[in-house]
Symmetry: C2
Subunit: 189 residues, 2 copies
DNA sequence: ATCGCTTTTTGCCATTTGACAAATGATTTC
DNA sequence: GAAATCATTTGTCAAATGGCAAAAAGCGAT
């Protein structure tokens, strides 16, 4: 929970009372390796913040292949869609790669926070915008790079993930096959 | 200018007075083919809305290659960064592919609108978020597709651009070489 | 330590794409 | 309309990547 407060404070100021409100509303939950946090087609119940572990976001393309779209690591807010108002049904799966700890809020509690803390809205908006920009920058570059460049880029941008995420997921994220990535790794050494 | 008003009204309501304010502040400008709208390293002076034409966003990668990151077509807001407050110096170039018409606002005029119209802020925020989501969706899929799939995807998503944008720019956007794209096109027919 | 299971590496060959250069086609300019 | 310029297609070969299957390595449970 402290991690979440600390994270939020980077984006705006909160007084002690406001921090207490957030603490009261949030609940810590655990997610075991390979458990789903979201499933495509199932309504999302919580707004979550990942304090420990790594989550993988994936979907199935039109050939039925599982495609890893990105990874969520420690200290990231997991929001349903771009707004918190509407009930949200994702088209993607979120699944824990490692055991995870999250702070979650029900939609109602989140709304209470929104109604109580002036500026909460803009804090969350800033976070969403930041996440978006990061995603765009990361994904954009991949397109124009070959396999080796993609992987070098990946280990530079996600140094903490390389050893915690199975090769096949990384390969899928980078848009190459697992065996190609294995060969690329060999050549780099 | 009408196009801009119409576009804005999709994201929020404005009364006649507010619309007049926007009309007064905005200026229509023309941009000739191959003229820059932004240049990397040069401060951005205007907030713009493209009413006619196509603009290309590109940068130079670490090999000095020109990479087309995306295209901006009719009815798109061109914002500096994610916020309008700060002076912004882009790291990318925006250059007209065709002759273009834009509605532009000086930073000061834009700020006046922001200070006068309650809710302007949230309208703009919605637009930014929408643009972000589109970019993420578009770029993400490319990574896991081969050349042919990328091109088919492109002509489906940008049917109006295929015949107005030179092949080399499309190829760069898709992350393949111009000659590969030419061959792909031949095979599709 | 051994068995069973999963992940990663490797081999082999087919296919795709890149690099480079030349040819063709299209457009602009005088 | 001829020349110059730019865009696209094509040829050739090399390099990168994919598909498939088997081998090797890693890991957990007993």
């Amino acid at each position: 929970m402290d991690k979440f407060i600390e994270y939020i404070l980077q984006f705006g100021n909160l007084n002690k009372q406001q921090i207490d409100l957030i603490r009261n509303k949030g609940t810590e939950i655990e997610l075991r390796k390979d458990e789903y946090y979201w499933e495509a087609g199932k309504t999302v119940k919580y707004i979550g913040f990942l304090t420990n572990g790594v989550i993988r976001v994936f979907y199935y393309d039109n050939k039925g292949e599982e495609i890893t779209r990105y990874f969520i690591d420690e200290n990231h807010l997991i929001l349903s869609g771009n707004t918190v108002d509407e009930v949200y049904t994702p088209s993607e799966y979120l699944s824990a790669i490692t055991d995870c700890t999250l702070v979650v809020f029900t939609r109602k509690d989140w709304k209470d926070i929104l109604d109580t803390i002036i500026g909460w809205d803009s804090i969350v908006q800033k976070i969403i915008t930041k996440h978006h920009s990061e995603k765009i920058a990361r994904r954009s570059e991949l397109v124009s790079q070959d396999g080796t460049e993609r992987y070098l880029d990946f280990i530079q941008k996600f140094p903490t993930l390389v050893n915690r995420v199975p090769l096949s997921y990384i390969a899928s994220y980078l848009g190459i096959t697992q065996s190609s990535l294995s060969r690329i790794r060999k050549n780099i050494r």
